[in-house]
């Protein structure tokens, strides 16, 4: 029996945000990057922290045995962050990266097959920080 497919450990992402940001991050990334799988948008709208946490958990529980998850959250210290951290505490295969922006989503898609799961969260956070600049065209 060949295990070639599962030896390639899959890193998936869940994007947890206020309003429609998560849907739009994923839809917009698809326009730039092309099609991809394993990125799940979730909104906190009309949900209790518990029901949002349940939805995050359901996605993780449906994952394969070797699947790991980066959970992006827009704003750490709010209801999205609370639900996300409540889940992170219960799973070894979950890491949280906050302050999600479009460059971070694109970096995830670019790097998820190259960088291992332990290093990926800090690389994504770093990519996100680097994308935030006060810009003066004279100093580009």
């Amino acid at each position: 029996m060949t295990r070639a497919a599962t030896s390639n450990k899959m890193i998936s992402a869940i994007v947890v945000t206020h309003g429609r940001l998560a849907d739009e991050f994923v839809a917009t990334a698809r326009k730039i990057f092309g099609d991809f799988r394993g990125v799940y948008p979730l909104t906190n709208e009309d949900k209790t922290p518990q029901s949002l946490a349940d939805e995050i958990e359901a996605i993780i529980e449906h994952g394969g045995p070797d699947e790991t998850f980066i959970v992006f959250v827009d704003f750490l210290f709010g209801s999205c962050g609370h639900a996300t951290l409540a889940v992170e505490r219960r799973y070894k295969n979950v890491r949280v990266v906050s302050g999600v922006n479009l460059p971070m989503i694109l970096a995830f898609l670019n790097k998820r097959n190259e960088v291992n799961f332990e290093r990926l969260p800090s690389e994504l956070a770093s990519r996100g920080r680097d994308s935030i600049q006060s810009v003066d065209t004279d100093q580009l």
């Binding site: 209790t48 922290p49 029901s51 210290f77 709010g78 209801s79 609370h82």
Partner: protein, 158 residues
Amino acid sequence: MPVKLARIDDRLIHGQVVLGWVPALKPDRIVVANDRVAGSDWERKFYSACVPPEVRVSFSTIEETARQVSGDVFKAEGLIVLLESARDALTLVNLGVSIQAVNVGGLHYREGSVELLPFVFLTGDERTALRELVKRGITLSAQDVPSNPARIINSLVV
């Protein structure tokens, strides 16, 4: 120990509280009255990190909150008291805390709940708890953030 705001919100401390109610009311302290959070180290740290440094924050069980607010533990402090559910609010009132008004700020959809307002979904038990608050002469004011109008919902829960 003036309670500037007693708020029912299943998210407890979050953006609407920190960016809406704190600047509007300028409380000295936010009291998270919740039995689970009072016993959860990570949640206390999490919620503490949500609060701007000029506002004190404390975490107490409903019983402890009743003692603290009715006694003089927080005397001379303006308080925002946050409650996760209508049931918790009723327990606090039943333990002798005197409140004239309760802000209903967010009770979101759960199984078996019915929509009253876009941010207020009530289970049968919560409706009963709110009705009890009304019987005690408390005004229920549904309002998510201070810049939106308040709606008195007493007549909708009896």
